[in-house]
Subunit: 200 residues, 2 copies
């Protein structure tokens, strides 16, 4: 039972942080959304920061499993990367169609909203984005081994540029409340990999 209550608090927190932002959400809101009393909340989480770490971890654990599955499929490396970007656009489109609003990426939202003083959560976000870069980087190494891209470009700096392009486009999609900018991700990723533009 304890696991279920804790999990309910974590899940509703991640949702509230995404839809209303971190600082707009108080402990009372978090308790109401999870349908728990304050005592129960504090039993699991001594502070909002502890809860945020748990919410961030839960979000990335789930997202990471999806990334890892797509990026380890038995297909050429660049096809896997392309699929990841297509799936990303599709998932934002689906979320927008369901709720009417494109709220963006909770990890990037927290990264830009949280004060730099919140070193604990920032350190965790740093690890998560480093993990994203490492997952993309491993796929680039596979692509180089398959002679699909130049070995010199299959490095962490290029992998970071691909994640930066993704998060930057999510920002445009959020501002426009329209996932369309995310449909350009593969074309721009090809360019960042030194490949020829896709002819459309």
């Amino acid at each position: 039972m304890e696991a279920t209550t804790r999990d309910r608090i974590v899940r509703s927190a991640a949702k509230l942080f995404l839809t209303r932002s971190y600082n707009a959400v108080g402990i009372a809101d978090l308790c109401a959304a999870a349908d728990v009393r304050k005592g129960s909340f504090y039993h699991f989480f001594p502070s909002k920061q502890e809860l945020t770490l748990a919410a961030v971890d839960a979000h990335w654990t789930e997202q990471r499993a999806a990334w890892a599955a797509t990026l380890s499929a038995p297909r050429p490396a660049l096809d896997r990367l392309r699929q990841l970007l297509i799936d990303t656009a599709a998932s934002y489109r689906q979320a927008r169609d369901r709720s009417g609003t494109l709220h963006g990426c909770v990890l990037a939202n927290l990264a830009l909203e949280l004060s730099a003083d919140d070193t604990l959560v920032r350190a965790r976000l740093q690890e998560i984005f480093a993990d994203q870069v490492a997952l993309i980087g491993a796929t680039l190494a596979d692509a180089a081994a398959e002679d699909a891209i130049a070995p010199a470009i299959a490095n962490p700096v290029t992998a970071r540029a691909i994640v930066a392009q993704l998060e930057g486009m999510v920002m445009f999609a959020k501002i426009d409340n329209d996932p369309a900018p995310l449909d350009d991700l593969w074309a721009h990723t090809r360019l960042l990999l030194g490949l020829r533009p896709v002819l459309t």
Copy 2:
């Protein structure tokens, strides 16, 4: 005098939103930072939203002037674009060295923090980012006219990818509290423009 008080409120608001985030800052904080009474505050700004619009406008007016100056210098178009990215990295580096903290871009921070329900501020941010894309886009058109890039790539979609790359790298710089990722902007922008990698 009125102009000065109003201006002081706007400037200290932009600074507080940047260093502490939008929702963490209340009217009392804004009054204290600008050294004005609540009555005076409400005389100029009926709501926090009105103030936010003014702060966002003031920030972009200043930043836009710098962008326009750099992008209209009597130099080849790609040199102007490269200079803009170098200046951007330098300005984040300077701010970090001065305060010890890299707070990022107030426009992107607000874009990701503000709830999608705040349609007024979101619409203004949308206009500002469209303006950024247009400024970069005009420079790409110049570059194509100079035969420095392919005409087919000198379009708004590429210009948006350059701004997305920039904001994505500012996110990494903020998470790392280190401007180093911004030093890669020109190399990645060259790739997004279909040019060969810079040999270093």
